[in-house]
């Protein structure tokens, strides 16, 4: 049993998380000829720009946004697949972004990842049995071969994969079956935290429902905590306990799922929600945004959303809004909301 203090503390905490990808790595790439002078200039993709976020035990924290908003980068930073450029990642009370490979090992057992494409996340030369046994024997070196096999069979059954299929290779399975196997592989080491990066986006509607049900079941039965990355808002509404809306690597709004869907406040959240085609609509029915997402290479000063926002003022162009707590508990980073220029 864990003591009460760690039970209440958030399982995952991101503090001022930043990630830049350098575009011009070499010295020669950095030298530019401008205004008759040679200057040195290194461009970078600002994928994640100072995100503060926590995930509590047993919740499904969803991160949503459009392509290029940095949601997958957040997932990879948390999983330790990328190193942050600045900021801190705390897991279960201790800082993890500074740990080395060896120190991270025990954490990898607690934290597992499910990827978008089950066609590339399974090794085509390994049978399902091998792919599932490998993490178990790696993380539980004391288990005998028979015990490993039993553990794998049990997990396979729990995700609806017949253990007798173990001798087959990934190409013999459909996309939905492969995603079940990928989820089984994440669950075999008894993780407490699962990072799922668009786990159902590559699947058909009827298969999406199967996989979502499976993930919900695993959450209830194993008390899992999820960091769920997706662009699909109807899935968020169903699956998430809380939602973080990202735009250009910046947090726009963080809110309980029900609150966000009833009363989105940030102009971007509103537009995003309105753009989801609903079955009851008989014509497109959305808030039009001007322009398109700017590139994260040249980040605008001030609010990242200003170029497409109908409420942008001089202040929005000059000053980056900070996330502020709203009466209903949500966090919103918007000057217009703060100044009461948008009716909440």
């Amino acid at each position: 049993m864990k003591d009460a203090i760690t039970q209440d503390a958030p399982l995952l905490k991101l503090k001022g998380l930043e990630k830049r990808f350098e575009l011009d790595k070499g010295l020669l790439e950095q030298i530019k000829f401008k205004n008759g002078k040679l200057t040195r200039e290194a461009r970078a993709v600002h994928a994640v720009n100072g995100i503060n976020l926590t995930a509590n035990r047993g919740e499904a924290l969803c991160v949503v946004g459009e392509s290029g908003c940095g949601k997958s980068t957040v997932a990879r930073l948390v999983a330790g697949l990328l190193t942050p450029s600045a900021g801190e990642i705390h897991y279960d009370g201790s800082r993890i972004d500074t740990l080395g490979r060896r120190e991270l090992l025990p954490l990898r057992k607690k934290m597992q990842m499910v990827f978008q494409n089950p066609y590339s996340s399974l090794n085509p030369r390994m049978t399902i049995q091998q792919a599932l046994e490998e993490p178990v024997s790696h993380h539980f070196p004391k288990l005998s071969r028979a015990e490993v096999r039993d553990k794998v069979a049990e997990v396979m059954r729990s995700v609806g994969v017949d253990p007798s299929w173990g001798k087959r290779y990934p190409h013999e399975f459909s996309g939905g079956q492969r995603q079940r196997i990928a989820i089984a592989r994440a669950l075999t080491v008894d993780p407490e935290f699962v990072i799922a990066d668009e786990p159902i986006s590559a699947l058909d509607v009827s298969i999406q429902a199967q996989i979502l049900n499976l993930m919900l079941e695993a959450k209830d039965e194993r008390g899992l905590t999820y960091l769920f990355i997706t662009h699909d808002l109807s899935v968020v509404q169903h699956f998430g306990t809380r939602v973080a809306v990202l735009y250009l690597g910046t947090l726009c709004e963080l809110s309980d799922t029900a609150t966000l869907f009833e009363n989105p406040k940030h102009p971007y959240s509103r537009a995003l929600l309105s753009a989801v085609p609903q079955l009851k609509d008989d014509k497109p029915n959305h808030i039009r945004l001007k322009g398109e997402i700017p590139t994260p290479i040249e980040m605008p000063q001030g609010c990242p959303f200003q170029s497409r926002c109908a409420f942008a003022t001089n202040r929005c162009q000059a000053e980056k809004p900070r996330p502020l707590q709203q009466p209903d508990g949500s966090l919103v980073a918007c000057h217009a909301v703060e100044e009461g220029r948008i009716d909440a």
């Binding site: 459009e66 392509s67 459909s174 939905g176 079956q177 058909d204 509607v205 009827s206 298969i207 999406q208 429902a209 199967q210 979502l212 049900n213 919900l216 662009h231 808002l233 109807s234 899935v235 509404q237 169903h238 699956f239 799922t257 029900a258 537009a271 995003l272 309105s274 753009a275 989801v276 085609p277 609903q278 079955l279 009851k280 609509d281 008989d282 014509k283 497109p284 029915n285 959305h286 039009r288 945004l289 398109e292 997402i293």
Partner: protein, 330 residues
């Protein structure tokens, strides 16, 4: 007379050791200026349907039977030269990925002018004028400058607008759009769909919209075809199909959407997978996944029949509706 009338269209693919049937005797009509949606999951035959309407099925695939009557002429039997007069001219197609559709080594202007001059007797200057006009219609800012840009200089949403402008260049009577916004973000998707709807309505262009998204079909179309394993299993007015689906597969597809279940509750899933084309079960192709399936469903293929305003291919629906009739006469 309908603008397009497809009758018993069958498309097969010759594999090394067998021939598989990708489209199995599908029939449907599209009226002038009518917008229809084709929905289904991957492998249902939606895209093959789109390609075959322009006779774009290439080897090892072939049209094995049936007719595609476009304004009374059978596209399935046309020669290449005749087809070229129809493709892009009277019937245009919009594909999923704009980067693949546009030629990366030609400017936007070259591609548009080339298309125009291939079909119309126009001077280069006249063609450029029309191109600018069409780009303005799809809300491309500063269209004169865009003519000199290459596809890679433009964003995904902008490229798809240009594709729509190219599709509309020669004032076609029918546009086939195959998942035109799947590669785009939701906010951009919404803009593109609204634009497409607006243009179809104002120019009285027919639209065949191929998509897996029932929400999009609901917003965009008047009639919906539901496909499963290379067959049309339901065909009717979009509102009726969405509000009161008849075929168990259509019901399952709609009920499986997260919006149809309270948050956090178990979703209503359809068990199993769509069969591979090499492995389509006898009888009704949906029978292994269907909770209503009987021995008859497993042995005898249901024919698509009309009940009021909808057409459905299902033995159970047939039985239920017959019972209703009996009750009414009793």
């Amino acid at each position: 007379m309908s603008l397009l009338s497809v009758r018993d269209l069958t498309v097969k693919f010759a594999m090394r050791d067998q021939t598989v049937t990708a489209l199995n005797q599908i029939s449907f009509d599209v009226g002038r200026g009518e917008r229809i949606g084709i929905v289904g999951e991957s492998g249902a035959g939606k895209s093959i349907t789109g390609f075959s309407l322009l006779n774009l099925i290439s080897k090892p695939g072939f049209i094995a039977g049936g007719e595609i009557l476009f304004d009374g002429q059978d596209i399935a039997k046309m020669k290449e030269a005749e087809l070229r007069k129809i493709r892009g001219n009277r019937m245009a197609m919009i594909f999923q990925d704009p980067m693949v559709t546009l030629n990366p080594v030609l400017t936007i202007g070259q591609q548009m002018v080339e298309t125009l001059m291939a079909h119309r007797k126009l001077s280069r200057a006249e063609a450029e004028q029309i191109a600018v006009l069409k780009l303005r219609e799809v809300y491309i800012p500063s269209p004169e400058e865009r003519l000199h840009q290459y596809p890679h200089e433009l964003s995904g949403g902008m490229r798809q607008r240009i594709i729509i402008a190219i599709a509309l260049l020669l004032d076609p009577q029918l546009i086939i759009a195959d998942e035109p916004t799947t590669a785009l973000d939701v906010t951009i998707q919404a803009d593109i769909m609204e634009l497409l709807l607006e243009l179809c309505q104002s120019n009285k262009v027919g639209l065949i919209l191929i998509t897996h998204d029932l929400g999009v079909v609901s917003q965009m179309t008047e009639r919906t075809l539901v496909m499963y394993a290379g067959r049309i299993i339901e065909n009717g007015p979009t509102r009726e199909i969405i509000n009161d689906p008849q075929h168990p597969y259509t019901q399952g597809l709609i009920n499986a959407l997260p919006q149809q279940t309270l948050p956090g509750h178990k979703l209503k899933q359809i068990p199993g997978n769509m069969p591979a084309l090499t492995d389509i079960p006898p009888g009704c192709p949906f029978s292994p996944r269907c909770s209503y399936a009987t021995d008859r469903c497993r042995s005898e293929r249901p024919r698509i029949s009309r009940y009021g305003t909808v057409e459905v291919a299902c033995h159970e629906v047939e039985r239920l509706l017959k019972d209703e009739k009996k009750e009414m006469t009793a």
